[in-house]
Symmetry: C2
Subunit: 723 residues, 2 copies
């Protein structure tokens, strides 16, 4: 009964989020699109983005179909091995799965995977659709009604993505869990299928982040190098053949890629905590534990929906404050709701024999209080917020680090680079201490389940977080459209103001994305260990230590692949832009129109080609290591990629952000201003930082989660390996 | 009886190495020093280097005295806790230490520490003394007798260091072990004291590498920036006030720093394996296990001595080949000797109940063959050689990566940096796979003892390796002296040829230093775990995972500190050089002589000041984490620093080396040649790479080893921690 009520409420709320997204989308479309010039430019971006997604989705469809079939047959034929191994394992699950046929097992996992892929694609698609419609309308609003209206349009455009991500993410989970229960599967099995759902979302996120990241930076570099530097035309000038591709890039990378990334974190964190619940609660309380996690998730969605309504611009009020109001409102409501839900589940936590083989005493003691889950959730929420703030500290021109990089630019390119690198490396200190405190704290309070809940807490208000993030590229695009359509300077001033807020929120988001990826991966990692039937991942064993080192290396090697990919794709773009200037000399005199579409096509093809190798590396390595060396060595490898990956992600995101803002600081006239030698050095730093912060860094977040999710799905199959 | 024989042979051989070093030193002094001009310049370098060491040693003496006292009282008063904890641990040592008084325990460890510090200082001191005498004599030999004689002088100068390091390193170990046995301590206790010896060597190595590394790069950057770039005077020009400091830097960083680094690796690897032997052999075979490790070590010293005699230049033969001959001869002889020694110890390995609680079966099976130790040693030797070769591949202009960086320099500073970074990151792939294969291989063959022996095998021929390395900066200095003393171009041509070989050997050495640090740290890590009485370091425990993440962060944070220190020290130097040019305008017209000494003083003070924070971080963190969170969390932290540190060290060493050689490749006329835009971009890369490859990278090697050694020494004291 309780199960039914919660599942129904969950369904209603996730459908509600989608309905709200649809309402917002209609609302965005109802705003005035602007004059013909704006419409024309906007249509180029819209078509370019749609063209990229079409091509990308074609590649992804092939991948999905093949993988779905492979998963089906893998689980179907591996069924005996899987169930045999699981029943021998030292988890406290007495393998009910032997009651079900191999067919069920294969179908359940592969169909969940399929659903996860499709929902992730859908969320990315509607987010981008909304963003490419909102951009021109933001320009028009800025022109006709001023900043308050422009903020409203841009934020509504972003909220479609935010609501779409949490709506689709949660709906899919409820479908998988409900269907599983409907066909008579028990709670543990249902969560196993849900891991397949998470794997689908992870795979799409990887392609989206890597492909989108390569696209956006290749276009950016080419537009800057050939347009701004070689031909001295300003940013976003319509005479730049790569300018449309550059604006498309913002949408495919920062909107669609970011959305599928956070959808993945969101879903994975829920599944990580739910798997923990399934593994550590005894059979009669298992379903309640899972329901609790789901209830926390949907209260976060509800809080996010309400939060978006608190974002209201006001003349003379900073847009940043308006956005923050929404975030605070969501957080406040979420805290109240989760406390309430904790009380509703007091019977489960208070009286249940809460099982954790390693620290039974601590759990009993803590759960006697009954509110440990709530406390763990709040710890996670706090960790997310704090890590985001530290990112802002290291990457904002208001603080000393960015100022120092700008100052060091005066002595040349090398000192700019060294200062940026040192800042990026240093910036790992505080976030890691916060993260470690969060892990230890949530563990002390709630055991492994507490760690899982902390990840859920951190991501609970993902709806509003994503809305604020997706607002950024819309404002950025709006500025580009204002420039290209030759609007008055006052229009550009408004969009610039909106855009600069977007840069700050982007820096915070990156810190948050890394923190949530780390926390989620740790929760998934714990779930993997239990499911693989391991009692420990002992790095004192030389084989496991070898795995740890290989895992650490993968983070570096993967980064090098992604960075090189950006370079290769950019080179193709550069050649094309140079060719156009050479063959169509009239472009610079406005007598000929550049072939935007050709640039878009080249960026699309290059990005899709280059994303394959890193993506396959991330997918194949855990399977290979798991089957060859067994699950403990694989666990070592995951831990290695996790810890080194977090450092690299923080380093790259913050170094890149700091270089970017140091350049912008100089452009405001400090340290010599635009055109000075210091500015040239700062441009070098910014260019180096671009693939760091927008391609490699975010891709590592997914690498960490995807590798862990794959391992979790196949956990029971690895066994001891061949060596 | 056997013990006595082996100890005596060991004494004789280590004293022999020192006598041989003394003979070589006298030989170097017997060569003609050259004309007055050469003598004058050489004396500046000699005095500058001596002045730095004097100041550095003053700081270090204070540190040693304080630490020795702290260690004494720590062990004296902590004695009850220590022995209590150890007797509760699950190692198979039945704590014989309770028979000895607390006084013994404190004295043994603190005096060993003192001896380790003093011997490390001595090795660095004689190495630098020899190098600063050999440099001018190499110049003179190049002028008077040609390349064959010059190579001979430079290599003999370097061999003093090589022989000094292994001689002092081994002698000290024999003293500690013999004295311990003489006072009636058992084998296990003796090795415990030896860990104190290793800690002394580690601490000095850290100061040497960090201090020397900051010195050399600060001087280098200042000399380049103000001299070469701002005032357009050539490299090594006597009108550059920083030129002497720059040449001094080669000696204090690349000779003294490198020597104490490898002495530390050398000693630690032996102690790691010996501790393993003490922990896993049963009491009646324990001493034999330790003796075997020592015998392998002294056979390596013997092989190195013989090897140096095979280095003979020949007209028309590449100096690189001559140096390689020596290395090959040493390796060949060492393999033969270690096989022989293995046969001599067959009784121990064949019949002893070889104890390893985790994999008894495997050990029995393997040790039935009796030659498993030999095979493990050879695996280690092979891993060292292979990792060195991969470093050469990634950093030599003969291969595609450096060529690509040079090519990317044509499109600007940013693409040069990105290409170098990507290359550095990519270059971790193969070394890590080799290392992982070596760890797994030696473990499969010989258990944990096998892993320890692999580290010993890798470092066994350290004598010849260090000789070859120390040759590099001597040849480099000889070139500088030739330039400054106005020798004929033909002299400079010879020294350049010798120097370019030095660059290749330096790249190989860096790879080797990282590989050996990693292998040694893993051996020490295993010893730490056993000694701390842990059965596992389970990263599946959230507390341990938090430790792992913090450890990974330390590697990044430490690097940022060191890189920033170089920047700060360089800025002070830059100010001084600019001041001299301003206040003494005659310098550039040769009418005034620059104040070399002032530059040397400033570099010295800046380096010493800046080395304190990173050094203290490395020393205090493991103690703090160990006492607060206990040994398992500390173990997680060590593993985190180990794996992330290895990656960062490889990345920094290879990116730096590749940038350096890309610049040199362009200077040969490729891609636009000297003075082109590509060259400017390549200079940027080289400058960024300098603190990477010569300061931060090598310092991380020591960070890894020192943190593990400290943890090993205090292993028994940490217990479960406060949280």
């Amino acid at each position: 009964m309780r199960t039914a009520i919660y599942l129904i409420i969950g369904f209603v709320i996730s459908l509600g989020a989608l309905a709200y997204a649809f309402y917002l989308y209609r609302k965005v479309l109802s705003f005035d699109q602007g004059d013909d010039k704006i419409k024309e430019i906007s249509s180029y971006i819209k078509e370019g983005a749609a063209a990229f997604l079409r091509s990308e989705y074609k590649v992804i469809y092939t991948f999905i179909v093949i993988t779905t079939i492979l998963i089906f047959f893998g689980f179907y034929f591996g069924y005996d091995t899987l169930s045999g191994l699981t029943s021998n394992s030292n988890t406290n699950i007495i393998v009910e799965q032997t009651e079900y046929s191999a067919l069920f097992y294969g179908l359940g996992t592969s169909l969940s995977f399929l659903l996860g892929s499709i929902f992730s694609l859908s969320a990315g698609f509607i987010g981008m659709k909304s963003a490419t419609n909102a951009n021109s309308r933001t320009t028009t609003a800025a022109r006709d009604s001023g900043i308050v209206k422009a903020l409203d349009v841009a934020f509504k455009g972003g909220s479609v993505m935010g609501m779409g991500v949490v709506g689709f993410g949660l709906l899919g989970l409820f479908i998988v869990v409900s269907l599983s229960l409907a066909i008579g599967v028990d709670a543990y099995e249902a969560i196993t299928y849900a891991a397949g759902y998470s794997l689908g979302a992870s795979s799409i996120a990887l392609f989206g982040r890597v492909g989108g990241g390569i696209y956006t930076k290749a276009a950016d570099v080419a537009a800057d190098l050939v347009g701004k530097i070689e031909n001295s035309i300003p940013e976003d000038d319509p005479r730049n053949p790569a300018v449309i591709a550059d604006n498309v890039g913002d949408n495919v990378g920062d909107v669609a890629g970011m959305g599928s990334d956070l959808l993945e974190s969101y879903v994975s964190s829920i599944i990580g905590a739910a798997t923990m619940a399934a593994l550590i609660f005894t059979a009669d309380h298992r379903m309640n534990g899972i329901l609790f996690v789901l209830a926390i998730a949907f209260s976060g969605v509800l809080a996010s929906i309400v939060g978006t309504m608190f974002v209201r611009g006001k003349e003379g009020k900073s847009p940043f404050k308006s956005l923050k109001n929404g975030t605070y409102a969501s957080a406040g409501l979420f805290i109240a709701l989760s406390l309430l839900i904790n009380f509703l589940f007091l019977d489960t936590f208070g009286s249940a024999l809460y099982y954790d083989q390693n620290d039974v005493f601590m759990n009993i003691r803590n759960f006697a209080f009954g509110l440990a889950p709530f406390v763990s959730i709040i710890i996670g929420l706090a960790v997310g917020v704090l890590i985001g703030l530290v990112s802002e500290y290291y990457t904002s021109a208001d603080y000393k680090h960015v100022k120092n990089i700008a100052k060091q630019s005066q002595t040349g390119h090398a000192t700019n680079i060294i200062a940026g690198m040192a800042t990026g490396m240093e910036s790992s200190l505080i976030p890691v201490l916060i993260l470690a405190a969060g892990i230890i704290g949530s563990f002390l309070v709630g055991g492994l389940f507490g760690v899982g809940l902390a990840a859920v807490g951190m991501l609970s208000t993902a709806g509003i977080t994503i809305s604020v993030d997706a607002y950024g590229p819309i404002a950025d695009n709006a500025g580009g459209i204002a420039e290209m359509s030759g609007q008055d300077k006052s229009v550009r001033a408004i969009t610039d103001k909106l855009d600069s807020v977007g840069n700050t929120t982007a820096a915070i988001e990156k810190g948050f994305a890394i923190g949530s990826a780390a926390m989620t991966a740790i929760a998934l990692f714990s779930a993997f260990i239990r499911k693989a039937g391991l009692s420990a991942i002992d790095v004192a064993q030389p084989r496991v230590m070898a795995g740890l080192i290989i895992g650490a290396m993968l983070a570096f090697f993967f980064s090098s692949l992604v960075i090189k990919s950006v370079g290769k794709a950019a080179n193709k773009m550069i050649d094309e832009v140079r060719r156009q200037y050479k063959e169509m000399p009239g472009i610079l005199e406005y007598t000929e129109k550049p072939d935007y579409a050709q640039c878009v096509t080249i960026a699309t093809n290059a990005a899709l080609k280059e994303m394959m190798l890193p993506a396959l590396l991330a997918i194949i390595t855990p399977l290979a290591i798991g089957f060859i060396f067994g699950s403990e060595v694989l666990g070592g490898m995951l831990a290695g990629t996790l810890v080194t990956g977090i450092m690299l992600a923080i380093f790259m995101a913050n170094a890149g952000g700091a270089w970017d803002n140091a350049k912008k600081l100089i452009e405001t006239g400090e340290f010599g201003g635009k055109g000075s030698e210091a500015h040239k050095a700062a441009v070098t730093g910014d260019t180096v930082g671009d693939p760091f912060k927008d391609t490699a860094g975010p891709s590592i977040d997914i690498l960490i989660k995807l590798m862990t999710t794959i391992s979790l799905v196949f956990a029971a199959a690895f066994g001891l390996g061949l060596f």
